[in-house]
Symmetry: C2
Subunit: 204 residues, 2 copies
DNA sequence: TGGTCGAGTTGGCACTGTCAAGTTTGCAGT
DNA sequence: ACTGCAAACTTGACAGTGCCAACTCGACCA
């Protein structure tokens, strides 16, 4: 059961990866450094992930799973469409700020295999938490709403904000103030989106 | 005037960079390969750009300049706020698809120096084309609109879409169909945004 | 007990970014 | 016209990188 030397080397390698990338970004990351940090030789990762792309694919998949979990539980039992959308947005940036290493990978689609099965199911699960919410918006606010268009819109906006957020002008460089600033922005995004969805008759 | 060997080596290096990145992404790019493609030795780029970060900063700045130019001229003389916003969005993705190499860099903020002067003035110029448009939206549709919030919203949404667009499910892999698909999506985004801006009373 | 196989190691290869030192080129000053 | 000099570029080196092949070790099963 346990991989004999390390308790769970794949997990340790993923952890080292996100720690490194969280600090230095995806460009300042190296497979050998990850191996060093996990206390194994430089060729050990290949045995579990094939190559660096495989490792980053696993990291991205892990990130999407955490995102899907957080979004699902955030909207669980909430019936009001508007509140539900707000919670989707908040869940997204909560995970983005809690797991910056994962997100740095996820947002760079040329770094990993977007066709990977585990990754796909996780990302679809996250997307469906949103699209299910948008269906409620349609049912409660605007029967003509194109759900896929609207969901893509929400996803794009929050994703774009996460990329932008390091450049938001918080006075202090505290991670905390930057988070609350972004969280407030997401709330206002949700207001715009909800009111847009409710008042857009049909897309031609 | 002319740099003696090459007519204009810095420009040639930028061109080689965006060509490479446009094909293989930012991860499959190397300084030495760029130098090879430009027909100079591997250390030549350092003389003009210092290091790889300097080169990518120049590329990003060039991209922002093209973006600012395109956006400015797209909205020039247009008085209707809604149409003007639509043109901003269309200009953005037009440049994003025309210069994928530039955008791949611009969207990865840890690759270049975001404090660079030329880059900052260009990106501010692009942003102001948008925020000026949002001011018109405020004047024509909703006096209570928070311009900065709304502009950040627009920027995030379109930027997020550009990142997402490679994963949109065009039947064919033609760059063209993917572009028109994205362009239509941007138009519907603009509808959502305009109607959201017009119908959001105040942000608390 | 012996065999097999997964997990991890070592060493090597081609490649990378950057630095130091050299070389070539154009040009300004006298 | 000659000299000096600085900019533009080259060459060579160094540590570091991803990946591949060959090896060793340990565990489990027949």
């Amino acid at each position: 059961m346990t991989t004999y030397h390390h308790g769970d080397l794949p997990a340790a390698l993923r952890a080292a990866t996100v720690e490194l990338i969280g600090e230095k970004g995806t460009s300042g990351f190296s497979l050998r450094q990850v191996a060093r940090q996990a206390g194994v030789s430089h060729a050990a990762p290949a045995h579990h992930f094939g190559d660096v792309r495989g490792l980053l694919t696993a990291v991205a998949a892990e990130g999407y799973e955490r995102l899907a979990d957080e979004m699902s539980s955030a909207i669980d039992g909430v019936d009001d469409a508007k509140e539900r959308l707000r919670r989707c947005g908040q869940a997204y940036i909560r995970i983005a700020f809690e797991y910056p290493g994962h997100f740095a990978v996820m947002l760079q689609r040329d770094l990993f295999d977007t066709e990977d099965e585990a990754l796909l199911t996780a990302s679809v699960r996250a997307y469906e938490a949103l699209s299910g919410t948008i269906e409620m918006v349609r049912d409660q606010l605007n029967p003509n709403l194109d759900v896929d268009q609207a969901a893509t819109f929400c996803w794009s906006a929050v994703q774009g904000l996460v990329i932008l957020s390091p450049n938001l002008d918080s006075v202090a460089y505290h991670q905390d103030t930057k988070f609350t600033e972004t969280a407030e922005l997401v709330d206002s995004f949700c207001d715009f989106m909800i009111n847009g969805f409710a008042n857009t008759p049909t897309t031609p």
